[in-house]
């Protein structure tokens, strides 16, 4: 890869100053699992690489305060997978994180990095969308909070402006009981990029939300307020009809070599139905019903 200058700021202010000085020639480095590949292939050729991992304000990387968990830019997928609180309150997120790459990759890849990279197939996007995560962005004018649905824009595009850093993700435990489940489709059981990635949540008033990715320019969040999806006794074909509407905007790429559009569309429906069923079961467990 091309030569670059390496910076390792120890405070957020320092990091922002370096970014401001470098303009468009800087890239931030957290886990490196996307950036190093990009640099080696010369898809990105920064003049300055700013390593975020010594920024004091990023630690502890994962903090619970009341009902909100804040995952900083330093929080790795491994940390997400093993956090007790996340497994309890956001099991779908833990499931998604555990599907990202191998142990070695998860020890480096960060949740914030995954979202900021902006891949339409990002596995963290569906659960974060389904749980209304908020992205905390640090910039020269201070912090701003961006709902995840607004933060994700398109392929490789987020709401991050030049000179800003994806600082943290906030997730708040929903005030009402919610069951959630994550599903993905891959070509093999081992580590693989997903051709369909989705998360379903079902709450106690019959609202179902489904967030899904890898089938268009970005991951989307849709919801069903009819109560049909959330109803464990509703017949399969009425659920299927609702799912048709949920997935109406899916537009999988014809150029993808991972899966055909037909297969992806079909698996959206299959996995969507499965995720909803599992979410219902999880909700029932929460409510002490089986």
């Amino acid at each position: 890869m091309k030569e670059f200058s390496y910076e390792r700021p120890e405070s957020l202010d320092e990091a922002l100053r370096v970014l401001a000085a470098s303009g468009s020639g800087a890239e931030v480095l957290a886990g490196g699992t996307d950036l190093v590949i990009a640099m080696r292939n010369r898809w990105r050729e920064p003049k300055v690489v700013v390593d975020l991992k010594r920024i004091a304000e990023l630690y502890p990387a994962l903090v619970w305060a009341d009902e909100t968990v804040t995952l900083s830019a330093a929080a790795t997928m491994t940390q997400v997978v093993h956090d007790e609180g996340i497994n309890k309150h956001f099991p779908a997120l833990a499931e998604a994180a555990s599907a990202v790459g191998s142990v070695q990759i998860r020890n480096r890849a960060t949740l914030v990095g995954n979202i900021c990279n902006g891949s339409p197939a990002a596995d963290s996007a569906p659960p974060l969308l389904a749980h209304d995560a908020v992205v905390v962005v640090a910039g020269p004018n201070g912090m701003r909070r961006v709902p995840i649905d607004d933060f994700i824009v398109g392929p490789g595009r987020t709401d991050l402006h030049e000179g800003e850093i994806g600082f943290a993700l906030d997730l708040t435990v929903p005030s009402r009981p919610v069951g959630a489940a994550y599903e993905r489709m891959t070509r093999r059981k081992g580590t693989d990029l997903a051709s369909v990635t989705l998360c379903a949540t079902v709450d106690d008033v019959g609202v179902t939300r489904i967030a899904f990715g890898s089938v268009g320019p970005r991951a989307w969040l849709r919801s069903d307020a009819t109560g049909v999806l959330a109803d464990p006794d509703a017949p399969a074909d009425s659920k299927a009809a609702i799912l048709e509407e949920v997935f109406a905007d899916a537009s999988p790429s014809v150029r993808s070599m991972r899966a055909s559009p037909d297969y992806r569309n079909a698996m959206l429906r299959v996995l969507g139905a499965r995720a909803v069923e599992r979410a219902i079961v999880r909700l029932q467990e929460l409510q002490g019903v089986s």
Binding site: M185, R187, R188, K189, T191, L193, M257, S260, Y263, V270
Partner: protein, 749 residues
């Protein structure tokens, strides 16, 4: 049979220690003083006319020492290849496949070489190419190889390289006798070896001696090729062949060594080239095939005739493809007694990566078609798929290829054992399916292996052998044989390989031959030592030689046993010394034989599968994967198991997930590890059981036959059969990815 000694046990792998400490030196771990780093220059096109190569910008990069283009090479461009000298050292005039090197840079650092390679400007005119069998055979198809490089060849004006005709009897005469005739076509995709170690090469000229390090499996063939190309005597051309980090056939024949040698000669310094993983995908693959099988059977399932047509898409240069095609086509009818057989095999050139040897050597591709068609026949006739095979299976001694090596095992035992392990006759759980298939591959048809064993003064021993140990454990097996025959501990045996200046000639490491051919050679070297020890004992004890017996590790004189080592040590006490034994195992060519020789042995395998298919997603779950092989004797049971398990899983790779994807212009889209899927530790069957049938009936030492390819010969048809059994789906191409299975389900509905 009693074997006292390490043969038949599983002592720790010789050379294993270095593999677990990181001390093992693979080619890429070797550095020479003053070395230059090389990088290939390629263009992003499958076929093109090269107009010009401008190296001006590249030469400006600091640290660049040499940019080799065709102008720097002799005219006409030197060419090489194990069967035809058709592969140019560098593309000249045209590029004929995506990734063919057009130039190469050597620089002080890897980065400089990379940067300079990216700056070499190649002006070219893209040309239409052919990337599939149909395209290559089209009457208007552009020719992959110009007729001028194929003088005297029958098919020079087409993309057919060679056509092979095998078989016996007259199909027309018996066609009417068949109650059921079934004809099907099956396809096998392009796949690549993906050894975890990418190919690597180093060359250096020292005075008038050229030394070459390579990941090559056949060091002596490489030596011969380079000696001829460069006009250097064999005695001054030294090949170092460290254990390859996985070969599977992809490292058998020379590829870039000639280029690296020319670079070293021109630069006057050592040059090293380590390929990237993506480059290896462009450099080596298995022939993809379309195989048409037409079977005629009686109502009771007896085969009346087999009519098989095999078409191999072999890429831009032949490498060893004609041999792959002929050898596998020859036994296309399988391990069955078939009264009339007609086989046509065809190799077809294409503007794609040249194919080379790959574990199984054409047999997996044919077996996929044949076994699957036999299954379809069984379905039509309402006959159990195990029974139809038992009915037709050749028995020991049957000349299932008339006039050729007869069936060399009680193969029915292998089949029954596999059936038993999968529970063929037991009731099947709901939603599951079972499949069973047979695979047969010929072992080596010719061979020449020399070896030397040196029994040293303290009773330790050196084995000097040209086999390549790429994981199959050859080194260990040879050490076991010597330890057994000398009566010494295997810890006292050292094995030297991989250096043509020290090690005597070995034709090659392939076709699962080494335990049989080199093993026999080593066994004979031990016998040579035994003869010399007899003479020593005679002198030492004053007893006539004909009253002395030497066997295993023992010298028997007048009813008394003396360990060989004792006799040797006593005899050497005055002056020191050692006892040197030489062994030769030769299997000569049979000039009238269509394959230039009959098989030394057969690898016979039965694979049985129990599987489940998710009716919504098409995902296949392998519940039970049984693989049983007829091995003669397992000299090292643990290593045999490792090879069998490994081959079985590799077979699941091409069955379930592996395929090289080309775009419309014949360029490979999924180069590298992210989008080319091979099995991981999470892709294993729920139960994988591999077993060996040991009847000690092989031609090698202690009754051994060759192993290591058997378990992947019939994986695909066995899985396909189970999928069909579970779902009724008949899919005639691979891989059986979830999407592929789902598509078949849609079609069926």
């Amino acid at each position: 049979m009693t074997i006292n000694g390490p043969v038949g046990t599983s002592p720790n792998r010789v050379g294993g220690r270095d593999r677990v400490t990181g001390a093992q030196q693979y080619v890429a771990d070797i550095h020479l003083v003053d070395e230059l780093h090389a990088k290939l220059v390629k263009i992003d096109v499958s076929r093109a006319r090269i107009i010009s190569i401008d190296t001006t910008k590249a030469e400006q990069v600091s640290g660049v020492r040499l940019i080799l283009t065709p102008d720097d090479l002799p005219r006409p461009m030197p060419r090489f290849g194990p069967q035809y000298a058709d592969r140019p050292v560098l593309a000249v005039g045209t590029v004929n496949y995506h990734g063919e090197p057009v130039a190469a840079v050597a620089a002080e650092t890897k980065e400089a070489a990379e940067e300079a390679a990216a700056l070499v400007e190649v002006e070219y005119e893209a040309l239409p190419g052919v990337f599939s069998i149909d395209a290559a055979l089209d009457s208007d198809a552009p020719l992959v190889q110009d007729p001028s490089v194929r003088p005297g060849e029958t098919f020079a004006d087409s993309n057919i390289k060679t056509e092979f005709n095998f078989g016996w009897g007259d199909i027309a005469a018996v066609e009417g006798e068949a109650d059921c005739v079934i004809e099907r076509e099956y396809e096998f995709p392009m796949i690549t070896h993906f050894a975890i170690e990418p190919h690597a090469f180093i060359a250096t000229l020292d005075g008038d001696e050229l030394s070459v390090w390579s990941t090559i499996q056949h060091p002596f063939q490489l030596q011969k090729t380079l000696a001829k190309l460069l006009d250097i005597p064999l005695s001054k051309l030294r090949i170092f062949a460290p254990d390859p980090g996985g070969g599977f056939g992809g490292k058998q024949h020379p590829k870039l060594e000639p280029l690296v040698c020319y670079m070293a000669l021109k630069a006057g310094r050592p040059v090293r080239l380590v390929m990237s993983l993506e480059e290896t995908f462009q450099a080596v693959r298995r022939p993809s095939t379309r195989v048409r099988v037409r079977l005629g059977l009686s109502l009771d399932g007896t085969l009346v005739f087999s009519d098989i047509e095999t078409n191999y898409l072999i890429g831009a240069y032949v490498d060893i493809a004609d041999r792959v095609a002929s050898k596998s086509s020859y036994v296309a009818a399988g391990p069955y007694k078939v009264p009339v057989v007609k086989i046509i095999g065809r190799t077809i050139l294409s503007n794609t990566t040249p194919t080379t040897a790959f574990r199984g050597f054409g047999v997996p591709q044919i077996t996929w078609a044949r076994e699957s068609t036999l299954d379809e026949a069984a379905l039509e006739l309402g006959i159990d798929r195990l029974d139809i095979r038992r009915r037709n299976l050749a028995g020991r001694g049957d000349e299932f290829v008339p006039g050729d090596t007869p069936a060399d095992g009680d193969w029915i035992q292998t089949v029954e054992r596999a059936a038993e392990l999968v529970g063929w006759r037991t009731p099947m759980p709901e939603g599951r399916g079972r499949g069973i298939a047979l695979g047969l591959k010929s072992g080596p048809t010719t061979g020449l292996s020399y070896s030397t064993v040196r029994l040293l003064a303290d009773g330790s021993a050196l084995v000097i052998s040209g086999t390549s140990d790429m994981g199959q454990g050859a080194r260990t097996v040879f050490a076991q044989i010597v330890a057994q025959e000398m009566g010494i501990s295997i810890d006292r045996v050292n094995v030297l390989m991989g250096d043509t200046a020290i090690v005597p000639y070995d034709q090659q490491t392939s076709a699962s031959r080494s335990t049989v051919l080199m093993g026999t050679s080593i066994h004979r070297a031990c016998k040579d030592i035994h003869a010399k020890v007899r003479t020593m004992a005679s002198r030492l004890y004053g007893v006539a030689e004909n009253l002395i017996e030497v066997d295993g590790g023992t010298v028997r004189i007048a009813g008394e046993d003396h360990p060989i080592v004792e006799v040797v040590q006593e005899s050497m006490a005055p002056l020191g010394g050692e006892v040197i034994g030489n062994g030769e195992m030769r299997k000569d060519k049979e000039p009238d034989h269509p394959l230039a020789g009959s098989a030394a042995f057969f690898e016979f395998n039965c694979t049985a599968i129990e599987a489940e298919v998710d009716p919504e997603t098409g995902e296949i779950e392998i519940i039970k994967h049984i693989t049983v092989g007829d091995v003669g004797t397992a000299l090292n049971p643990q290593q045999v198991q490792g090879q069998d398990d490994g081959a079985a899983i590799m077979g699941l790779g091409h069955t379930l997930m592996e395929v090289l994807i080309l775009d419309d212009e014949g360029r490979t889209r999924n180069l590298g590890a992210i989008d080319y899927r091979i099995p991981t530790s999470k892709d294993l069957p729920i139960a994988l059981i591999s077993e060996s049938i040991e009847n000690h009936d092989g031609p090698g030492p202690y009754g051994v036959k060759g192993v290591s390819e058997g378990s992947l010969l019939c994986t695909a048809p066995a899985v396909g059969s189970a999928v069909r059994d579970a779902t009724g789906l008949i899919i005639r191409d691979l891989p059986l990815t979830p999407q592929r299975v789902w598509e078949a389900m849609k079609e069926q509905a």
